[in-house]
């Protein structure tokens, strides 16, 4: 297939599936809390809605940055889709993309001039310190498999069995990362916590918000995709879908049942988890 | 004569340096320290001379007084400030009394 068409196809799938997964997550949380919950399609509809709303810019914003940052957010996750499902490229690149995602989060918060955005920006710095170690799970994978290419990691798993059985602690770390990135009422997601309104998105309206929401959907899809690929190996698209739905439902349940931690505690929880995960995995690798 | 073997430039300079350093550590007053510092520097220059790097020794010899002067300026200034502060403090105390 044509590479361009492949990219377009995968990005569209990522966007649609990600949006619907968010809907499922909200539905699960709502049912746990004995509410009817919004329709599953709600997140997608919101995204669409923002594109036909009027776009306004705050007078205090840092101008080119404020607009461009949303486009960059979109661009990096499209790049992630290219690295991931399309070309099965190096994992280290995904790590870099995640690092830039943290930066974009930070700057989307601070460039608007809103105090809520500013708080979210400071928290983004905090959480970057915690989420990058979690993402360093990829290094553990490298230590285990000896390769950074996704295609060879998949081949390795076809030969030696799924990595989730050999590296359960690493999988735990990655789940913690996914929880910290989940959108609604996550215990660890301090940048979008509801005590600072909408975090870094507070001052982004109209088109810009639409872009952010598209990127969020792709982000969610990509995180789950990386998890499934790296820990379960090659799956059929149907299995990917089912796996994603299950993971999303699980995380929805976790979010519905846990309190929201304060920033310090959230960060240190993540760091502690990362520490346990990294050290534990390395010990398990050498002694078991 | 094994004792006399030790009297060459290297050993003497090393001894001077060590004496200087002990002096710096042991003497409490900054001015004394500066004097001992000159001793340390002297030993050091002797050591360079023993290694036959005359130009380096010359440069070190020029920088030695410079650092001494800088130290002196600093110490004197600090002294002045401290005295002034004490005076102010005692004045304030006097008012209180």
């Amino acid at each position: 297939m044509n590479l361009m068409a492949d990219i377009l196809l995968n990005v569209t799938i990522a966007f649609l599936v990600g949006s619907v997964l968010f809907g499922i997550q909200r539905k699960v949380m709502a049912r746990i809390q004995l509410r009817p919950g919004p329709p599953i399609i709600q997140h997608l509809l919101h995204t669409m809605k923002f594109f036909i709303k009027e776009t306004v810019f705050p007078k205090t914003a840092a101008m080119p940055f404020y607009v461009v940052i949303t486009v960059i957010l979109c661009a990096i996750w499209v790049a992630a889709v290219i690295v991931g499902p399309v070309t099965q490229g190096p994992l280290l690149l995904l790590f870099a993309i995640f690092a830039i995602h943290k930066i974009v989060e930070h700057n989307a918060g601070s460039s608007s001039g809103s105090p809520y955005g500013k708080l979210s920006c400071v928290r983004a710095v905090f959480s970057a310190a915690a989420e990058l170690p979690l993402f360093a799970v990829l290094i553990i994978i490298f230590l285990q498999t000896g390769t950074m290419q996704l295609s060879t990691i998949v081949a390795y798993q076809a030969e030696h069995g799924a990595l989730i059985f050999t590296l359960p602690l690493a999988a735990m770390m990655f789940i913690a990362l996914i929880i910290s990135k989940s959108y609604y009422y996550s215990p660890l997601n301090i940048t979008l916590a509801k005590d600072i309104v909408s975090g870094f998105e507070t001052e982004h309206f109209g088109m810009l918000r639409g872009f952010i929401m598209i990127s969020e959907a792709i982000t969610w899809y990509m995180l789950l995709w990386v998890f499934l690929t790296v820990f379960f190996g090659a799956l059929s698209p149907l299995m990917y879908l089912i796996g994603m739905v299950i993971l999303t439902a699980l995380i929805g349940a976790v979010n519905a049942l846990t309190p929201i931690l304060n920033p310090n505690h959230s960060v240190m929880t993540e760091i502690t988890l990362a520490f346990i995960g990294i050290v534990g995995s390395i010990i398990m690798m050498f002694y078991i | 004569m094994p004792v006399l073997d030790f009297i060459n430039l290297t050993y003497v300079s090393a001894a001077v340096t060590i004496i200087g350093s002990i002096g710096i550590i042991a003497l409490p007053k900054p001015i004394d320290k500066v004097i001992m510092f000159s001793l340390l520097q002297g030993g050091f220059i002797g050591m360079i001379a023993a290694a036959k790097y005359l130009d380096v020794a010359m440069a070190a010899a020029i920088f030695d007084p410079i650092s001494t002067i800088i130290l002196l300026i600093g110490i004197i200034k600090l002294d002045e400030i401290r005295k002034k502060k004490q005076k102010q403090k005692s004045q304030e105390d006097g008012f209180l009394v």
């Binding site: 310090n264 240190m268 | 290694a51 790097y53 005359l54 130009d55 380096v56």
Partner: protein
């Protein structure tokens, strides 16, 4: 909750240098038990200490052979294929340096440090990019210091007005 308080205290800026230095100290302690293996095949070798001085060489300790503008000096560099005129800078001597070298035996360091010599070759040519960075560091630090000095620490009177 004890753990929570510990976590909070770790986030105090004033404590961070201390935490850092403790962690670094612990790692440095490990350095005493790690077997240190020194590889004798280094690049840019030096003759043994004091060897050249004892030979009464006027360029000691930086004589690396070669003759000015004619014959390059010899030394082991990492990538000779990327350097066309390797060794020429090392062997270069300015006229003053030649004059000095003919009069005295003990000015080798000054002769070397004037343009030409192996350190200049490393600093400007084969590892010139390092020097770009280190002089930029110097420049940036003084930009910061002068800016703060000009706009704040030295203009107190104006701010009072």
């Amino acid at each position: 909750m004890k753990l929570g308080r510990l976590w909070n205290s770790l986030a105090t800026p004033k404590r961070i240098p201390k935490v850092f230095s403790i962690i670094l100290a612990v790692v440095l302690l490990a350095g005493f038990v790690v077997p240190l293996t020194y590889d004798v095949h280094q690049v840019y070798l030096k003759p043994a200490p004091q060897a050249q001085v004892n030979d009464q060489d006027p360029f000691a300790p930086y004589n690396r052979g070669g003759s000015p503008l004619e014959e390059p000096a010899t030394y082991i560099s990492q990538y000779p294929q990327f350097a066309q005129h390797q060794g020429m800078i090392t062997s270069y001597l300015s006229p003053i340096a030649i004059g000095v070298s003919e009069t005295t035996l003990y000015f080798g360091t000054s002769i070397l440090a004037s343009p030409g010599g192996v350190i200049d070759e490393i600093l400007y040519f084969s590892r010139g990019f390092d020097t770009i960075l280190e002089s930029s560091i110097m420049l940036m630090a003084s930009v910061i210091a002068t800016w703060v000095a000009l706009h704040f620490t030295m203009r107190r009177k104006e701010e009072e007005d």
